[in-house]
């Protein structure tokens, strides 16, 4: 039973990280109908920025809390800046091009960013500094859930609530929903669609950076290639929940995280990634609209 609970919490932790990344996919897809392949790379760049800032600060000997906060802020700021720039360079000029064009451009951007980090930094796995200490009050249950897992879960919940509030009640959130529904109509009622799209990319990238920071401090090492697999898995989660739907992305991520955790725990850990991909293929065959997505008919 203990093993089951342990797997359950580790699945939940995984799922929350996927959710942070999947939200970026789903928001962007909801608004411009594009799978942002470079999103996984934004997440990786967020983690890398956090790594660099945290290591520099720890060499200068700052206290742990300050390091965690500063590197977190830096990760979010830079990842958002990258997300914004990627949209401006690679997607905005292609907004009226055939569907295949922005997709290929996105794949190109993903390969470009990966190799940019590889060339500017290194291909080695780098040890990520520990940003989250072991809390004393967690001592009795540390076997089941570690301090880092707890921080990840809490952060994810807080971020989700904030995001929901932003989308539901603020002006920019309203504009996002309007643009997702009908871009033309949104333009007609005076919404600056370009700004809304930029804002979506910024928010999505910021969330991915938080995910990157958390997972890197959880696993303890990073590499230029982490974005690729994480990106595909988060995408799987977004599709599982129904792409374009924000609660769907969260639900899909948790389902994926738990599935992976139990499958690796009870079946085999060699095929960890195969489970995710197989799940993706199965969903797309049997329920392409996802768990919470709406099936849409193409109008002619």
């Amino acid at each position: 039973m203990d093993y089951f609970i342990e797997l359950f919490f580790s699945g939940l932790t995984r799922g929350s990280i996927y959710a942070l990344i999947a939200l970026g996919y789903t928001m962007v897809y909801g608004i411009i109908g594009l799978i942002n392949f470079a999103h996984g790379e934004i997440y990786m760049i967020g983690a890398f920025t956090a790594f660099i800032v945290a290591t520099v600060l720890s060499i200068y000997g700052l206290p742990l809390l300050a390091i965690a906060i500063i590197s977190g802020v830096a990760a979010v700021v830079w990842a958002s800046a990258y997300g914004y720039t990627v949209e401006k360079i690679a997607y905005k000029p292609l907004r009226h091009a055939p569907r295949l064009s922005p997709l290929i451009s996105a794949i190109g951007m993903s390969i470009f960013l990966q190799n940019y980090v590889l060339l500017a930094q290194t291909s080695d796995f780098l040890p990520f500094p520990r940003l989250i200490p072991d809390f004393a009050f967690m001592e009795p249950i540390v076997q089941i859930i570690g301090s880092t897992d707890l921080v990840i879960l809490i952060t994810t919940v807080v971020v989700m609530v904030l995001l929901t509030l932003v989308i539901k009640f603020t002006k920019i959130g309203k504009a996002m929903r309007a643009t997702a529904q009908d871009r033309m109509m949104a333009t007609l009622v005076g919404i600056n669609v370009n700004n809304v799209i930029s804002a979506t990319f910024i928010v999505g990238s910021g969330l991915a950076a938080i995910g990157g920071l958390l997972i890197a401090s959880h696993i303890g090492q990073i590499n230029f290639y982490i974005g690729f697999i994480a990106g595909i898995k988060a995408f799987t989660a977004a599709v599982l929940g129904g792409i374009g739907s924000i609660p769907g992305a969260v639900l899909g991520s948790l389902v994926l995280g738990l599935t992976e955790s139990f499958a690796t725990g009870y079946v085999s850990s060699d095929y960890e990634d195969v489970f995710a991909f197989s799940l993706l293929v199965l969903i797309l065959i049997f329920k392409p609209s996802g768990l919470l997505g709406k099936a849409s008919n193409q109008k002619v």
């Binding site: 690679a90 290929i104 040890p127 599709v239 095929y271 991909f277």
Partner: protein
Amino acid sequence: MVLREIKKGLLTSLWFVFLTFPIVVIKVDPIEKTIFWRWQNALYMAIGTFCVYLLVKYYRHRKEQQTDNGGNLEQTGSFIHRALQNPLQRKILISVLAVIALIFPHFFSTYQTNVMTTALMYVVLGLGLNIVVGLAGLLDLGFVAFYAVGAYTYALLNMHFGLGFWTVLPLGGLIAATFGILLGFPVLRLRGDYLAIVTLGFGEIIRLILENWGEFSQGPSGISNISRPGFFGIEFGLEQSIVYTYYLMILLVIVTIFVVNRLQDSRIGRAWIALREDEIACQAMGIDKRKTKLVAFSLGAFWAGIVGVMFAAKTTFINPASFTFLESAIILSIVVLGGMGSIVGVVIGALILILMPEYLRALSEYRMLAFGGILVCMMIFRPQGLISNVRRTYKFEKKQ
């Protein structure tokens, strides 16, 4: 006007310096606890961005002027088109190419021949993917899976049953085509972007299985001592064998070009193009969408499988590391750079992308960076590729 552009350019380069600051300028060594500040990189970044910005502005400006003048935009590549349309020039061009291809191994070293053989393999892979992406408009990011299937078919059959190259060559293609249909069935209903990611997942599944299922594929250590292609029982030395493989590849390229060219103008080829342009209209015209897509998938896979067999026979050693997603990305770059749907374009694209890094060794580090950049830039500035595919048009000419 110019001053304003320069000011905007400076701001852009400032933004990029900020953007790339942590990754490009700082390099930390977490074990030794040292920091390297590479300030010169920030300077390069600033200058580079500024130049690129001005170039893009200049390009846009010129393009606008051309459109204003009502000028003909289609100029690059038209030389090759004209040469191909004129029967005499075409004959000359083809015979010159044939002579170069024939005498190549006798004038260049074995190493060069080997490199050329690799480039030719990518030509065929590109042409195979061109059927799927260029003609049928189905973005396949797991193309390398079929290549792997072909290579492993030969390696395993050769290892266990001692089957020869010529027996397995069609077999590898057929098995890969079967995999193409297997993948095609479930994804038929999916639209472009879903299709891309499912094929990507499929490619990764195949690679992960090859890596982890040790009893079947010998895992990451791969399979070695695969027989080279034979020629009526004659044994070749290493050098002769390389030349022989080169000629085989030339033959395969010719066959592929011939087949793809005929396919393009056939009933199924026109159905693919119709499918690419508009699925609904295509169905309304009575084209069987399922069948058309499946044929595209399996034919594309067939060529990949054949090249896979060639690859295994050429290198005599394969392991899963040769079949990563990057390989799919390279093949896709070839098709996109050359021009989707254009045979000449794909051939030239493959030769540029594969030979360039070989001869510019200093730049080979930046190879993948350039491939990514090419995909983005081509989509933005020249979506039709270097040599665009010319659709067959019929003109109505009045009698004089």
